[in-house]
Structures are given as C-alpha cells and as structure tokens.
C-alpha cells in the first residue's frame, strides 16, 4: 500500500512511504533524512536499494524531527540522538500502557 495514493491512511507499519513523500510531510531535506539514517535514527525498509522506502509509522517521527529542528534549532547529530531517545520513551510508554491495562481496577 503506497501512502501517496491513498486519501485516508492509518499511519502505521502497514503502509509504505517514499523518501520524497517524507521530505514533503516533514519539511526536512532528503540530505537531512539520509543523515538521520546514517546516524541510525531512521531505518529504511530496503537499505540496499537506491530508492528508499520507509514504514508508514515513521511519518510521525520525521514530522517530530522537522518540528524539533525548526523550533529547537537542533543539528542533525543532536536530532538523531533526540529521536533515538524519544523512540525509547515511546517504547517504554507502550510497555507501561500494556502493564497498566493488566492491572485490576
């Protein structure tokens, strides 16, 4: 499923997104996105190919990256570290949510 072609789309792992679409959605340049990939903050689905595609759930991450770059004036290295830490926070929050759901009322 290609993100560009759909009008209504869940931003999750079931859709794919081209690097050009990520540029449009985030305001980051392709060079900045490639730098974030180099630092390990983003991972394409097909790193060996020239035309990268990404999982649709990455859209929210790159939009946050665009806002953080603009609002906090972060360079690519700091941005990559921030995104990595934010990802860790989201994972821990999801774990807390799952454990909380299992607690009796």
């Amino acid at each position: 499923m290609k993100l560009e072609q759909a009008d209504v789309m869940w931003l999750d792992a079931h859709c794919e997104c081209s690097i050009a679409e990520l540029v449009r959605l985030s305001g980051l340049s392709e060079a900045e996105l490639r730098e974030l990939v180099d630092y390990g903050a983003l991972a394409p689905l097909n790193p060996q190919e020239a035309e990268w595609t990404f999982s649709g759930d990455i859209v929210l991450t790159v939009q946050a990256a665009g806002r953080l770059r603009d609002d906090l004036e972060l360079d690519a290295r700091t941005l990559a570290l921030t995104l990595t830490l934010l990802k860790r926070v989201r994972e821990l929050e999801a774990q807390i949510g799952e454990l909380r759901a299992q607690l009796p009322r």
């Binding site: 009008d7 789309m9 931003l11 806002r67 906090l72 799952e98």
Partner: protein, 317 residues
C-alpha cells in the same frame, strides 16, 4: 484582538537583548515543546512561546510589536491607525485574527510562501485535531464531526481566522493514540500549491469494562473460589456479544485467559485479543450455610499457599 505580552511570555525585560531573548526561548522551548513535554498544557504554552519568539527575535517585527502599545495580557485592543501602513502592505480586519496571525501576515513573512512566475504560492497548512471516540465506534468505524478555528490566507495573501467544520470518516481499526492522515483535507494551497493534510489523533473514551493496549483488550474476570478451584464455564462480555469461556480447574488470581480475536479489529486485517484477568472474589457477607461449608473446607484441606515462605527464607539465609 486580544493583546499578549510577549516579553512576559518569555520572562524577559522589554529592553532585553537578542541573546537574552534567544536564551529565554530555548529554555522554555526545551521544557514545553509538545514533542518532548508531557505537560497537557504544553502545546498551548509552547505555541505562545514560539509566537513570542518569532516576533521578538526579528528586529523589524519587534519594533512593530512595540509600536502596538502596552496593554494587559488578554485585553482587547486595536493597532494604532497608521500601524498597518507603517509595518505592512496588507489591509486586514483585526476582528478575525489573533496577534500571532497579525505578525505572520506582515508583508513578506508568510511561512513557506514563495512567488513563482509572478504568482503567490503557498502550500496549504496541515491541521491536527483529536477525535474522541468510543470503543464501539473504533470497533465498527465511525464518522465524526470536527470543528477547527484556523488561519487561512485569501488570494491576496491576507490572513483570516475562520471556523471550519469537517466530517471525517474513521475506518474500523482505530485504537488509542493512533493517527489517521486525511490527504488534502487541511488548509487550501494558494496559487496551485498543494492543499495541506488533516491529521486525526484518535483518543478512546475510557470504557467501564475494558482497558485497551494497542488492539488488545483487558477485562477483569471475577470468579468465585469454587469456580477457580473446580473449573467452570462463565459468560464473558465481548465487543461482539457475550461468549462462553471455559475456566480450567485450578485457575489462580492474576491469570490471563485469552479469547483470541475478540479485541479491536486491526486496520489491515485480523483483530487483537481479549484477555480476561482472573480475580478471585470472596463473599463479604456469609450465610450460615456458606460459613459452615467454608469452615468444613478449612478443616479438611491441607492446601497451604504460603508454604514457600519458609523454604525461601531458609534458602536466603
């Protein structure tokens, strides 16, 4: 239009230098940026801080702001009569904009605006709104009515704050915290530039019975001590109606009994699971007969749920 004291927002003096303004902004932005802050009021607070900084960091805009005069924050005011002639080339009504729109609309400073072949071009703004829906609505899919007040630019590049209503179809598969992108449903692009998108944040209303984790649901399942010990078949409510669940003999408190594919439907295919978390419920008031039976059980049973205490303590020492 309501006045906002941008110096007060950033916590700086009116004669503060650019460096002091930048430092104050950075400190507050790190604290309230919506992508890093957990403060529920953070987003609104950050917008105020960012608006203040966008105006005060630019000497021309800051001069224009200072020329507005001084009022109490929140006080209704109008710019001086010659203000727009002095600082902008656009005519605007001060009734349908706020202070941030006023400064964003100053000539040549519209965000992401550019001229191509003499035509004023600007991509439409992305809108983001939270849709609160029930678990049943998430399960079936639903249509929500949304109302947003947004700044919009007309063909002359003048800003207006307008109320827009949307009817958005949320397909089944939603869960708490999920995002839906409605392509082209944001602000209108100008001069042939693309329209913005509308992003829906899905927030589920808490349910009286179910707790949600992703597409899985959790439900407390109270059992009597004898149902847990002997096993039983009990009715369990699910989103699709009640089902009969076989509780195996020897079930203990806290055990998770899985009802496969009885959770929320997933966007692509399949469903989450429903987990019944066992609680052992004991009657708080006993009839004479019940008391007698429990006493008989107490006398006749050799079961000791604390048998491991002594063993573990011995092992530790």
């Amino acid at each position: 239009m309501k006045y906002k004291d941008y110096y007060q927002v950033l916590g700086v003096e009116r004669d503060a230098g650019t460096d002091a303004i930048k430092k104050a902004y950075r400190k507050l932005a790190h604290k309230y940026h919506p992508d890093v802050s957990k403060d529920p009021a953070g987003e609104e607070k950050f917008k105020e801080i960012a608006d203040a900084y966008q105006t005060l960091k630019d000497p021309e805009k800051r001069a224009a702001y200072d020329q507005l005069g001084r009022y109490q924050s929140g006080q209704e005011f109008r710019p001086p009569p010659d203000w727009s002639r002095q600082f902008g080339d656009t005519q605007f009504s001060t009734d349908d904009i706020d202070l941030a729109d006023l400064f964003a609309g100053l000539a040549g400073r519209r965000p992401h605006a550019e001229r191509r072949g003499g035509t004023f071009q600007m991509p439409g703004q992305d809108y983001e709104v939270t849709a609160h829906i029930t678990l049943d609505e998430a399960s079936r899919g639903t249509t929500v009515d949304l109302r947003l007040t947004v700044p919009e630019y007309d063909q002359q590049g003048r800003v207006h704050r307008v109320e827009r209503t949307f009817k958005a179809r949320i397909p089944k598969g939603a869960t708490d915290g999920q995002r839906l992108r409605l392509r082209g449903k944001g602000g209108k692009g100008l001069g042939g530039a693309p329209d913005g998108d509308l992003y829906l944040n899905i927030a589920l209303h808490p349910h009286a019975l179910y707790r949600v984790s992703g597409h899985d649901l959790y439900l407390d399942l109270p059992l009597t001590p004898w149902e847990a010990a002997l096993g039983a078949v009990v009715e369990v409510p699910t989103l699709g109606g009640s089902v009969r669940l076989k509780v195996p003999a020897g079930t203990h408190a806290g055990q998770k009994l899985r009802l496969a594919r009885r959770g929320l439907p997933k966007p692509s295919e399949g469903e989450g699971d429903l987990y019944a978390i066992v609680q052992i419920a004991v009657p708080t008031v006993l009839s004479e007969r019940e008391r007698a039976l429990f006493e008989e059980l107490a006398k006749g049973s050799s079961f000791n749920p604390r048998g491991h205490f002594e063993q573990e303590i011995r092992h530790e020492t």
